[in-house]
Amino acid sequence: MENKTVDILLVEDNASDAELILISLEEKKLVPSIFMVRDGEKALDYIFSRGEFGHRSGEDNPKLILLDLKLPKINGLEVLSSIKEKVPTKNIPVVILTSSAHSKDIEECYRLGANSYIVKPIGFDEFSKIITHTVKYWLEINKTL
């Protein structure tokens, strides 16, 4: 799986939130290839081709990273800052997808270089709309280096 080019790296520890994202995309017939990791350490291992992802070539960076903030081991802010401070990864769009509408988090994420900050709504219709819009925008409309 990790040898294939991945469209979206989904960093999410909550299995049902992850499933809701997949259901949302499936309903809108969107089929990006998604690789999911459930903690911050795995996310960094994947992005920087370390540990179990050591054989991954640095060429096939994901086109989009959906990043939760509250994660086991290494939290989302640390993952974000590691991605954004290194040359080979800093241009990958990172969209923060979190339950926190805390102004301190929003401020810190943009300071660290997040490309977008989205607060997950509770209701499915809204959630689904936001997820599909986001994925369409970053994979189809937005132009990256």
Partner: protein
């Protein structure tokens, strides 16, 4: 008088002069009427002795006086020195006390800061940890209703819709509670607030809403006040939304917003002709999660008025209410003009 006794007398006079000259001012001669001239000298010398004695006595007195003054000055100096020392001691004590006080203030500030941070972490957890499972409950109920509708009988659908509704309610509750908790941490930024504009904005949105279009609005001219604009807006939003909520259910609903001016202090009021409340519960009105009406009849989490009270408290103002059951309610608040945070 013979010459020998004359010489003797002169000798006596010379003696007296020498005595006087060497400081024996008691030396006196005795005239013997033998020679007027010599007796005159003796009398003169006697007077001189008297005078010198007087002068010496007065000098002695003066020097004694001087000595006394010197002693006094020394004593005063001594006292002054010890006073200066005491004052220095007191100053160093004050310095020490000040330092201790500063340390205590620092410690207390650190404790408060820690408590604040803990509260913030708590709010953060509440927001994140409670909302995540809610999203699962709500979303899966909605997806089940949408995708598997044909397998569900009416009862099952109703249950799922109830789950949906109650989950929404809980989400609202969490949001309100969070807003209430964060209110204490927010810094008040004082500025001139045009309350007439704020109220007009709120009222316009109700005029466009079909659910509240029956309401007759009576908006009086409202003064500018000093306060935090966002928070003052929240106060009017909550009071007006309450007025609307408890009035639309009655015929000819009417909401009035105005002020009463008393001694330079503006008291704002929001008055309705709705269902009102029993004045015996007026103290419970502003409690968090406190409701005076059944949930099925009037929606809401019971946080609105608690938020109003907290905002007014943070502006050092007052808020209170008057009502009678079925006769409508009036909510009043006032904020002192010079706000010193």
């Amino acid at each position: 008088m013979d010459s020998s006794s004359h010489e003797q007398k002169i000798q006596l006079i010379l003696n007296q002069i020498i005595q006087l000259a060497t400081g024996n001012l008691d030396a006196r001669g005795a005239p013997d009427n033998s020679d007027d001239d010599l007796d005159g000298i003796i009398l003169g010398l006697n007077m001189l002795g008297e005078e010198l004695q007087k002068s010496r006595e007065s000098l002695r007195q003066k020097s004694l006086e001087l000595e006394r003054q010197v002693d006094e000055t020394q004593l005063a100096n001594e006292m002054l020195r010890s006073e200066v020392q005491e004052r220095r001691k007191a100053e160093s004590q004050i310095r020490k006390l000040n330092q201790e006080l500063e340390k205590r203030v620092e410690k207390r500030t650190a404790q408060l800061q820690k408590a604040n941070e803990e509260l913030e972490a708590f709010s953060y957890s509440v927001a994140h940890d409670l909302r995540s499972p809610l999203r699962s409950i709500l979303s899966y109920s909605q997806i089940t209703l949408k995708r598997h509708s044909k397998f569900l009988n009416e009862e099952a659908k109703r249950y799922l819709r109830t789950i949906e509704e109650k989950t929404h309610e809980m989400g609202q509750l969490i949001d309100d509670l969070l807003a209430f908790a964060l209110l204490n941490q927010k810094e008040i930024s004082t500025q001139t607030v045009a309350t007439d504009k704020i109220v007009d904005n709120i009222v316009q949105s109700y005029k466009m809403d079909v659910r509240s279009k029956e309401i007759a609005w009576n908006i009086q001219s409202l003064p500018n006040i000093q306060g935090d604009r966002t928070l003052i807006k929240q106060v009017f939003t909550n009071l007006i939304s309450n007025a609307v909520k408890f009035t639309v259910v009655k015929p000819n609903p009417m909401v009035t917003v105005g002020t009463i001016s008393e001694g330079g202090l503006n008291t704002f009021f929001v008055k309705d002709n709705g269902v009102g409340f029993d004045m015996q519960y007026k103290d419970k009105l502003f409690g968090v999660f406190q409701r005076l009406h059944e949930k099925e009849q009037f929606e809401g989490t019971g946080v609105g008025l608690a938020i109003v009270q907290r905002i007014i408290e943070r502006h050092h103002g007052k808020v209170w209410a008057e009502s009678m059951i079925d006769q409508g309610a009036t909510f009043y608040f006032s904020i002192p003009p010079e706000l010193n945070n």
